[in-house]
């Protein structure tokens, strides 16, 4: 079973990378200026000598450095990445409770970007020197260059003052008492602006990529063959070309998961979306290092999982590489 072996291999590798992220976190705390105990406690008020003493004891800060690392890794394996004194909560619980909204935001942005971006790019590839294609080139440059947090603020102004049809902050309306279905609709309504803001850069990138990729595929020999043997142009375009042209887009989408997380931090801060981004924003404001480091760990973990998922999606879409290493 090559696919099972491959899966195990990938998971083992992911485990090594996760450990490496933990070691990086450990090193960063030790490299940071000041007493590690104070770094771990963060700069929130009300940190007493007792708390610092407790941290030193729990983390074994008087022990040699490699023993400290063992303690840290041992705790991490048991799901303990420290305690946030600002939020008064173990950081793992804190971060996990905020993951849902961020994942929802990222998935929504990805779907929007893939759908709009690919459609625009494919349309442009039908007439690469045409007006629409040139317009798309300019539009994608603009979309690519605007900082997401600024676009978000501009959209807030637009939808608060000019066309108030979308809510501009939060995950859902707390004053609404509706059933499960109503709540889901309300969340989707709140999701529109942040997801679109986050998606803009990727719409720009995917449309360019889809256009270039379609043009390349349309120029290849097997397309000429298909046309020569009289396959309908529509079938050539959508069935023969499009399917191959989306492969590089799938790869890129998977690689973009980390960037999407980075973008989500900024977009969430703008729209008060209660996910990892607002958590990052709040903990940065308070210099709550334990929470920030846990965020780095969990975002790396999410990227690793996303990479594994992309790898398998790619295998499904492209039967040529079945079992081969990518």
């Amino acid at each position: 079973m090559p696919i099972l072996r491959l899966l195990l291999e990938r998971i083992a590798y992911a485990f090594i990378v996760v450990t490496a992220v933990l070691v990086l976190n450990f090193i960063l705390v030790r490299l940071a200026p000041g007493d590690p105990a104070e770094v771990i406690a963060g700069e929130s008020g009300g940190i007493t000598e007792e708390i610092l003493a407790a941290i030193r004891r729990d983390y074994g800060l008087d022990l040699p450095i490699h023993e400290q690392l063992w303690i840290y890794l041992g705790n991490a394996i048991q799901g303990d990445l420290g305690y946030s004194f600002y939020f008064n909560s173990p950081v793992v619980e804190l971060v996990v409770s905020r993951m849902g909204p961020t994942i929802l935001l990222i998935l929504a942005a990805t779907v929007i970007a893939l759908f709009i971006g690919t459609t625009l790019g494919v349309l442009a590839s039908r007439n690469p020197e045409g007006l629409f294609s040139n317009f798309l080139t300019v539009a994608s440059l603009i979309g690519y260059s605007a900082p997401a947090f600024w676009t978000g603020l501009m959209l807030i102004i637009l939808f608060a003052f000019v066309v108030p049809i979308f809510p501009i902050a939060g995950l859902y309306d707390v004053t609404l008492s509706v059933g499960f279905f109503g709540r889901a609709l309300d969340i989707a309504h709140h999701l529109v602006l942040p997801a679109f803001t986050l998606a803009i850069i990727y719409i720009a990138q995917y449309s360019r990529l889809a256009r270039a990729s379609m043009l390349e595929v349309l120029g290849s020999d097997y397309i000429r063959t298909a046309r020569a043997k009289g396959v309908a142009e529509r079938v050539v375009f959508f069935k023969h070309a499009l399917r191959n042209a989306v492969l590089p887009i799938i790869t890129i989408t998977g690689l973009h998961f980390g960037n999407l997380l980075s973008g989500a931090v900024l977009v969430e801060a703008v729209f008060n979306w209660p996910g990892l981004g607002t958590l990052a924003f709040d903990s940065l404001l308070r210099r709550d290092y334990t929470t920030i480091l846990a965020l780095l760990f969990f975002s790396a973990l999410m990227v690793i999982v996303a990479n594994l998922a992309t790898d398998f999606c790619y295998r499904l879409a492209d039967p040529r590489i079945k079992g081969k290493r990518g």
Partner: protein, 295 residues
């Protein structure tokens, strides 16, 4: 590009150097020239604007929330404290551009070093360096940069270093691919045969030929680095004593309903800076990779 006039493709001199040909190509690209002019204007205003305009962007110049065009003293209005937006626009570019440029330099330096070593030496060196690159690719760059700046002192140097450390991976991959390809070519083998050292082969023989794609990517990285700096300042991670466009947006974020202008103008400045760099990058891409020009 479509805006290249037809019939001007006749080569002027048969033996023109590739660099000059690329430059001529670049100058014929209208949008690239637009980018160049735009960037030059932004750099000039940032360099000479502050002494000419002479207003401290941190000092209160008028009533808070003065809309643009009302008080001739503050043409673009004031923010929530009454600071002059125009002064911030003129003075805020220095930090953004300086950090953007040095962070891009940092990114390219790390990426080039790692990529060149991996591609040139291959084998175990390649394996180790690429594992490290893969590891860094797993860490979302903005979040890593955030952590670095938050843990260490938030100075402009630290921000530039943090951005560099967080975003060199794609340059490394690109440089590696180029070095892998070029080291097998005959002129490199010939160089090795006549006894050129590894150092010379990497930096003098291979590097110049690997430059075109790296230059394009470096230009685009400047744009990304500007966006990074703006994002970090927006999150309050910049140097609080130095005015920057991101800082202006971040500090007026809460007052967006009282003064749309205090976030809109600095954001537009960031946007135009990145746009100018992207236009230049696109033009360089067309000029340096003639094979791709058809797309």
């Amino acid at each position: 590009m479509a805006d290249r006039p037809a019939g001007t493709d006749i080569p002027v001199a048969a033996a023109e150097s590739p660099a000059r040909e690329a430059w001529r190509m670049f100058l014929r690209n209208r949008s690239a020239i637009l980018g160049l002019v735009l960037l030059a204007a932004i750099v000039l205003v940032s360099l000479f604007g502050p002494p000419l305009y002479g207003v401290d962007p941190f000092k209160i110049q008028g009533a808070p929330f003065t809309p643009p065009g009302v008080d001739p003293n503050v043409p673009l209005g004031t923010d929530h404290v009454g600071r002059d937006i125009l002064a911030g626009m003129i003075g805020g570019g220095r930090a953004t551009l300086a950090v953007g440029a040095s962070a891009a330099l940092m990114t390219v330096a790390i990426g080039l070093l790692v990529g060149a070593m991996a591609g040139y030496y291959g084998g175990l060196v390649d394996e180790i360096l690429m594992r490290i690159t893969e590891f860094f690719q797993v860490l979302p760059s903005l979040i890593l940069a955030m952590v670095l700046v938050a843990l260490f002192t938030p100075s402009l140097y630290m921000i530039a270093i943090a951005i560099g450390v967080a975003s060199w991976q794609s340059t490394a991959r690109l440089a590696r691919a180029e070095f892998l390809r070029l080291k097998e070519l005959e002129y490199v083998k010939a160089g090795r045969t006549i006894g050129a050292t590894d150092k010379r082969l990497i930096w003098v023989v291979i590097l110049p030929n690997a430059l075109p794609p790296l230059i394009v990517s470096a230009t685009l990285i400047v744009g990304v680095a500007i966006l990074f700096e703006a994002g970090l300042s927006f999150l309050g991670l910049g140097d609080p004593n130095i005015m920057s466009w991101g800082l202006m947006i971040g500090s007026s974020r809460e007052y967006i309903f009282d003064s749309w202008w205090s976030a809109t103008f600095p954001g537009a400045a960031i946007f135009l800076s990145v746009l100018s760099v992207s236009l230049i990058g696109d033009g360089l891409n067309d000029a340096l990779n003639p094979k791709l020009r058809e797309r």
